[in-house]
Each structure stands twice: as C-alpha cells, then as structure tokens.
C-alpha cells in the first residue's frame, strides 16, 4: 500500500477511482501506474494497436486488474519472487551444457545482448520457415549448437531463461510483427481467439474482450495479455508460461485442451502478443 501510494501518479483523479469503486471496491486499482524499483516505467495501459479496431480501443496489462498487494509485489524486485527465476536463468546462461562444452554466454555477449528478443517474439524464423517462440529458439541453440537435450516446453529451466530475457527487456514496448511471412500464423491465432471451446462454449474473447473488468466469481477478468510472461503465480508458487496459462483457460471451458508448444498455441501466442503491442514487457510479473 505504502510503496504504491508514493509511486502511483497522484494525478489519477478521485472521480475515476469512484467510478471503479462500484464495480470492484477492495480488489484492484485499475488506475494505478507501475514503476519498478522506482525507476523502470512500465506502460500498463495504452491505445490499442490498429489491428484491434472495432474490438478494443485501449489495452491494459493484467497487472492493473490485480489486488493492491499483488500489484505492490511487482514494484520492487526484492518483493517479486519471479526475480529468483530470472537470477537462476542468468546462472544457467553462464553454465556449460551439452557435448560441445559451451554455455549460452560463449556465443551471446551477455543476456543484455538479447534484450530485443522478449518484445519481438513469437517471430518468423527464416531458416526454419516457421513462427518461432523464444523457447523453440532456445531449444534450437541447445540441440543444434550445444549438443544438449531439448528442454520440455514450459519446464522450470525454460521459464528461468524466459524470465531473465524478459527482465532485461522490461519497459520496452511489445512489438511483434504480424505481417509478412508471419501473417498466416497470426490469422490462425486470431481465428482461434474468437473460437468457442468446450461444453461451456466460450472463446478467449468472451472473457477477455467482452468481459474484462468484470468479476467472474472471485477473479477479476483482465484482457488476458501476455506482456507479463513469464508470470509468477502466487497460487502455484512458481513461474508459469503463456502456453500453460492458455492450456488452463481452455481446460476451464470444459474443453479438450491443447499442449504447451503445440502449433495451435504458437499461433495463439503470436496473436495474443500482438493484441498487446504497445504495452511494456514487464515479466517476470506477479499474479494471483
């Protein structure tokens, strides 16, 4: 609370706050502003990208929909348990893995040299002629350049790598390309976003576009953005990847869900990421 009061822009007017107070009083402050460690300014609300015309005018990070306490945890790296994953990711980066005797750091000049990765992935990979997620790329480095075993999708090790790659990109705007060779995958992801699944017959859009800001039982629905991934979930006590989150959301419609790393989820990740183009990378973030 205290941290927040000092860091929140004092300008957010009482009038706006009262408007939200009716909907969800003690739960969340949708008008709070996020500054991490008192220095990294995070855009958690901005104008929607052009491709969302007719769907959304404004995009918001999931951070805005969390409770005051959860919001505060992300404002200081010492309070953010997700940063432990980023630290482990950094240690992994310097560790020799595989038969070639190489560490990531042997080829990549520090994690900072990869700061452009988190905001621009999923991204078209020319050599592989496919849209690639960060984890697919890391697996290629592991198996093709290091002689190491592929890591399981959304494994702890992968999420640690993702966490450190996100942490060095915090504050930069999400900016995934949706045209050119990536376009057909993006279209596939878009179609999936508006497809209803399961016996509850619900699409991502039914909850995250039509009903963000509303309570669904005790959960305050956000726009389901991915700029905060990987996400430290307090409820699970660990980092979660975007695909595992998608898997859970589809399962919760009483549907046969898809697997993390599946082509469906790669397409969906690209599309969902593009809905957040303009929001800052804020991972590893904290959610309930």
């Amino acid at each position: 609370m205290n941290i927040k009061n000092t860091l929140t822009t004092k300008l957010c007017t009482a009038a706006v706050l009262t408007a939200f107070a009716v909907a969800a009083p003690a739960f969340a402050d949708e008008d709070a502003e996020l500054v991490i460690n008192g220095e990294i300014e995070i855009v958690t609300k901005t104008t929607a990208p052009a491709h969302l015309e007719g769907h959304l005018t404004e995009i918001m990070s999931g951070w805005r929909f969390r409770s005051d306490d959860t919001q505060a945890m992300e404002m200081d790296d010492f309070d953010n348990p997700g940063m432990l994953g980023a630290e482990e990711g950094l240690a992994q980066f310097d560790t020799v893995m595989g038969s070639e005797g190489k560490a990531c750091a042997d080829c990549h000049d520090g994690v900072e040299s990869l700061a452009s990765v988190r905001p621009t992935y999923p991204k078209w990979n020319d050599a592989k002629e496919a849209v690639y997620t960060i984890q697919m790329q890391i697996n290629d480095c592991l198996t093709e350049r290091m002689g190491a075993e592929a890591e399981k999708y959304d494994s702890k090790k992968m999420l640690n790598f993702e966490a450190v790659l996100a942490s060095v990109a915090r504050g930069t705007p999400m900016n995934v390309a949706i045209d050119g060779p990536a376009q057909s995958t993006w279209e596939q992801g878009k179609e999936m976003y508006y497809t209803r699944f399961g016996q509850l017959d619900l699409s991502c859009a039914n909850c995250h576009e039509q009903n963000y800001g509303n309570m669904i039982r005790a959960d305050h629905l956000s726009q389901g953005q991915t700029n905060g991934f990987p996400v430290y979930r307090i409820k699970d006590n660990k980092l979660t990847g975007a695909h595992s989150r998608f898997k859970g959301c589809i399962r919760d419609t009483r549907a046969e869900t898809f697997a993390p790393g599946s082509p469906e989820f790669v397409a969906l990740e690209l599309y969902v990421a593009s809905r957040g183009n303009g929001l800052s990378v804020e991972g590893p973030s904290v959610r309930n």
């Binding site: 016996q199 909850c207 009903n211 509303n214 669904i216 549907a255």
Partner: protein, 157 residues
Amino acid sequence: MKRIATCFVVLGLTASAAMAEVAPGSIQFEEGAVAQSLTGTSGNPAEGRTIMTTKSVGNCVSCHAATDYADVPFAGEVGPLLDGAGSRWDEAQLRGLVVNPKMTFEGTVMPAFYKVDGFNRPGDAFTGKAAPADLPPLLSAQQVEDVVAYLMTLKDE
C-alpha cells in the same frame, strides 16, 4: 427365480422413469421457451438455490448475483442481477434459458445447461482431456427443474 423377478421390477421402474424424462436431444423450443417439464416432477426451489450457488454444480453464481443469495461470497458480474427474474420471465421461458440460453439470447456467453452435442472439442469436465462419447449435460433434467423453480421465486417486490 425370485431374484430374477425382482430384477425385472427394478429394471421396469428405471425404464419408465427414464422415459418420462425429456432427453437433451428432444427438447422442443418455442421462441426460446420450453413449455414441457423435463421430468414431470415439480422442481424443489431450495435444491435449485443450492445448485445455482455451488461451484461444482450449476455455478450460476460465478456470473450472476442475486439479493436472495447475497450470503454466498464472490458473486460474479458477467451476467445480470437475477432479482426479479421470476417476474420478467414465465416458467417456460426460464426453462428455455437454463436448457439453452442461445435460443433466447443469440451469441450469449451463458452456457447451455441441458445440451450434450454441438460443442467444439468438448472435454471431460475440467480435466482438459477429451469428453467421453456419452457426455452428460451440465445439469440433470431434475436439476434444471429445481433451478427453474427457484428462479420463479425471484419475484419483483
């Protein structure tokens, strides 16, 4: 011999009870409403209230609040407040709404509670796995009747 006879009697009873129930596939809608009771047994409103407010059963409370069950924590706000639903709609309309609200509100986010087919990748409850071939409806025929009976008690003051 005696045992076999008893068996027949038991079988006979279940068969006739099942026949009285209208199956999810044979529902007759008229402008979204379903006039015929699904079971012929009148609904129990107290049961209906429990079904609506229990997560593992109807879980209507995840989307709807109502003053009558204000004691249940964390009512959702995806759907409208149900106060006065029993005055706004008649019994047949409410039955239709619970069985399949898409027949009343096109494209609604409210699920159909007495429907077993026409889904995209239906699952086996919340396991994430594929549904069994004989996917049960979200509510049984009698549970639908109980819920309708409860909704009918939500009258305008």
